[in-house]
């Protein structure tokens, strides 16, 4: 066999990117039966019927074609109106809004639109699993900043400032945060904005969970004076309207950046699926009541899970957004991964080890409360039994 044949055909930059820890854990969980899963990062609700129905109606009427690269004007107008209503900022539907295939695509486009090879992008950990790999795929350098439980996993200016070096080009924010449920205060936003302006950083703000904010109104960093012109705001319909499978996200950004992202989008994706765009219009225009109802349910489950975790002796801050609790299990005498594996083996409850969200997640597990209150109750009962066995 010649050397050539032994060589991998996979590109070198890709070889070093590890598989998602979530995927590894999923492989373990899927072999078992009767698992109560708190490991799910998507709403347990079915998309509200009136939204599904609008897709069916559109299909009935032959909506089977491509749309404009940017997305239908109808949807961009609805997005513009929604963003203005929720953040107070106006984005021009003609030139500043791009409809993407989920925030996942929006994130990829945003990163590729602003990162040159070697540029650093700073993001906070523990974080959603895609951030670092997406930056690597763009030949950029992902730079994590740790967030800590004592700060309720908020990103603070002091921690951030340490990481902003010469090559720092961009900052990626995700609040409310997956996996920690953290939300920034207005002061945090102001501090971080100042730092971004001083260092001329472009900010990518992944606000997919903004519709699931439980304390006060969500605030976008783009609404801080001086920030809109340097911010790419990413959001979508997956979480607020339980539409993960529709794959609709949107990017709001200055025309220059929107144009840059569209350049990639038009050649790689062309457009988001038309039926999903139709459903998204219905959700944005007439879906407030449905999303309010779901938010209320999540809030109650959050109260329940937060109290239960603390009662069983696991320290857990009150998550102010998203649908995850992120308790500390580091004092149970094992790693987060071992904790998750044994909890699964002994009690058939699945929680994702915090290390799936970066090294900063060691000592923590992510408990999603996007599952029925019945499931949460049973899971908490089993988990409590497990923890008390460990701690005695």
């Amino acid at each position: 066999m010649s050397n050539d044949q032994q060589k991998t055909r996979v590109a070198s930059y890709l070889r070093d990117v590890p598989r998602s820890g979530i995927r590894d854990f999923f492989e373990i969980v899927r072999t078992r039966k009767g698992v109560i899963s708190l490991g799910i990062g998507e709403p347990d609700f079915v998309t509200p019927w009136h939204i599904r129905e609008s897709s069916i109606f559109a299909l009935d009427h032959g909506a089977t074609s491509y749309t404009a690269n940017l997305g239908t004007l109808e949807l961009r107008k609805a997005v513009s109106e929604y963003v203005e209503r929720t953040t107070g900022m106006h984005y021009d539907p003609e030139s500043e809004i791009l409809i993407t295939v989920g925030v996942s695509e929006g994130l990829d486009l945003a990163v590729r639109a602003i990162i040159d090879p070697g540029d650093e992008l700073i993001y906070h950990e523990p974080s959603y699993v895609s951030y670092a790999p997406v930056v690597t795929f763009a030949h950029g350098v992902p730079v994590p900043v740790l967030t800590k439980q004592e700060d309720e996993f908020r990103l603070t200016r002091s921690h951030l400032a340490e990481k902003v070096g010469e090559k720092a080009k961009a900052l990626l924010l995700n609040f409310p945060s997956n996996p920690t449920g953290a939300v920034l205060t207005n002061d945090d936003l102001k501090d971080i904005s100042e730092l971004a302006i001083e260092n001329d950083l472009t900010v990518i703000s992944d606000e997919i969970y903004s519709g699931l904010t439980y304390e006060g109104e969500p605030t976008s960093i783009a609404s801080v004076p001086g920030m809109k012109e340097r911010t790419i705001l990413l959001n979508g319909l997956s979480k607020s309207w339980a539409m993960t499978g529709f794959r609709i996200g949107f990017a709001c950004a200055p025309a220059e950046l929107t144009e840059a992202m569209t350049k990639i989008h038009q050649y790689t994706m062309l457009c988001a699926p038309i039926l999903s765009q139709k459903a998204a219009v219905e959700a944005l225009l007439n879906g407030d009541k449905a999303s309010e109802h779901m938010r209320n349910e999540y809030r109650q489950r959050r109260n329940f899970i937060h109290k239960s975790l603390n009662e069983m002796g696991l320290t857990c801050h009150l998550p102010k957004g998203a649908f995850y609790a992120f308790p500390y299990v580091g004092d149970c005498g094992m790693t987060a991964k071992d904790f998750s594996c044994r909890l699964l083996e002994e009690e058939n409850v699945a929680c994702v080890p915090g290390t799936a969200f970066g090294a900063a997640g060691e000592g923590f597990i992510r408990c999603s409360y996007a599952t029925s209150l019945e499931n949460i109750k049973e899971a908490m009962k089993r988990m409590s039994a497990f923890v008390s066995r460990l701690k005695t």
Binding site: F26, I40, V46, N303, K377
Partner: protein, 159 residues
């Protein structure tokens, strides 16, 4: 509406301890609020929602549109209250539109319901006319679907 009431309407078996956790309140507080609602008559009872179709009892349920003559002073209330006392009457509503009262009646057999309508309801002084519709199948009752939904496939773990 108070969130506590909404939760009880959804599931009256929820324990005060769990309700307190969900509402970020205390168990005593929840208990005392429930007692207040019961005492003041806001909570009027607790029932199970039963899909009787599955029991194959072949019971009959009918919706009856009733037109009545309102009484001086009593209006519709007096007669409506009188009709609602019949044990056969499951629900009774005052309506706007083409008729005045909507009466839901339950009986063991078609004959029993027909007898009730013709002999009891229609003969009450003040009842002008009745129109009876028999219910054939229940798809959804009090917000609860009667058919089992197929379990949706969802990834057990996802980012």
């Amino acid at each position: 509406m108070d969130e506590l009431l909404r939760l009880l309407q959804k599931n009256a078996l929820e324990t005060p301890a769990d309700l307190a956790k969900v509402l970020d309140s205390t168990e005593e507080d929840v208990r005392s609020k429930i007692s207040e609602y019961e005492d003041s008559g806001i909570i009027r009872g607790y029932q199970a929602i039963v899909d009787e179709d599955r029991l194959e009892l072949n019971r009959v349920r009918a919706v009856i549109e009733v037109r009545i003559t309102p009484e001086r002073e009593g209006g519709f209330d007096h007669l409506a209250q009188r009709l609602s006392r019949f044990s056969e009457v499951e629900s009774l509503f005052l309506m706007s539109g083409g008729y005045d009262l909507l009466v839901i009646v339950k009986g063991e057999t078609l004959k029993e319901v027909a007898f009730f309508v013709s002999e009891k309801l229609a003969t009450v002084n003040g009842v002008i006319s009745t129109g009876t519709h028999f219910m054939l199948k229940t798809y959804k009752d009090q917000g609860v679907l009667m058919q089992d939904e197929k379990e949706r496939e969802r990834l057990q773990v996802s980012p």
